[in-house]
């Protein structure tokens, strides 16, 4: 008698649906929040979904090719860059205009 291993529910489809949910929530937050900091949290959440999808594709499509993990590492570097420059811009805008919400910088003047 041949015992076959039970198929797992953790498929690429399931992983991509989770990442799509994270991306959708992040998009909602990015578009709806007034505060700069909350807006960046939305962007981070979108990148979080992207990271999960990348790792899923690496694990289920290329058979463990190390270059796939390298792409995920680059996405993590992008997350760090986005957060650092974003916070630096928040500080710069606050110094210039005492603005902490998006509506305060609707023009480029001054």
């Amino acid at each position: 008698m041949i015992i076959t291993e039970r198929a797992t529910d953790m498929t690429l489809t399931a992983i991509l649906i989770v990442s799509a949910a994270l991306f959708g929530i992040g998009l909602f937050g990015t578009l709806s929040q007034k505060s700069f900091v909350m807006l960046m949290m939305g962007l981070e959440l979108m990148l979080n979904g992207t990271l999960l999808a990348t790792v899923g594709f690496w694990a289920y499509t290329v058979g463990g090719l190390p270059k796939g993990q390298l792409l995920a590492i680059l996405i993590m570097a992008v997350m760090a860059v986005e957060l650092s420059i974003g916070f630096a811009l928040v500080v710069a805008v606050y110094r210039k205009r005492q603005a902490d919400i998006i509506e305060s910088i609707t023009t480029l003047k001054n």
Partner: protein
Amino acid sequence: MKDIIFYVLSALAIWGGWRVFRADSMIRATFALMMSFIAVGGIAMLMSADYIGIATVFMMAVEMMVMGLFMVMFMMNPAGLNPMQMVHQYRFSLGAGIAAFSGLTAAILATPLPDNPLPPGGDTLRDLGFELLGNSMLIFETAGVTLLATMVGAVVLSSGSGRFGSAGDGSLPPGLTAGGRPAGRLVDAVKGQEDTPGNGMTMEKKPAVRADDHHGTGH
């Protein structure tokens, strides 16, 4: 067992992500986002991406601590003592989020995705190490230099010093002649202070001017 862990981590990731935008307390929102990141790191480890999973957890824990600090600095109600809704175009945003999720899910379900899982017994960590310090070293180092440039750019953007000194002190550009009035266009506030004889700013910032004044008035 692996399936149950996957379901739990997925639920935590999505629920944490949703709580980020529903919590009154900004600190709780930050920790909810951290929970979402940690759950995604756990899912990555379930997929044998150990390095990515651990790095995500460590990196995001630090990032979220920094984000919590900025929350306290810039949000008017960081502790969530009063209910707060700082949102705009709510319906449009909700629709866009749902549309993105629905569209992506439809595309995922309609696509015949390949199923080529990792071969059992593979040492992904070792392979990644050889890749990072081998063929892809230049890419890896480029990412490192990009992060260094980011650090420099962040310091330049966020520092208070302008071209002529600290921005907070109302600093003035140097004069065209020794002890002369500051060069360039003056803003109204500075001009008004300049018109006032013996104004404090010029006296403090330019000791040479004070010395000239004293000579000029016969002291």
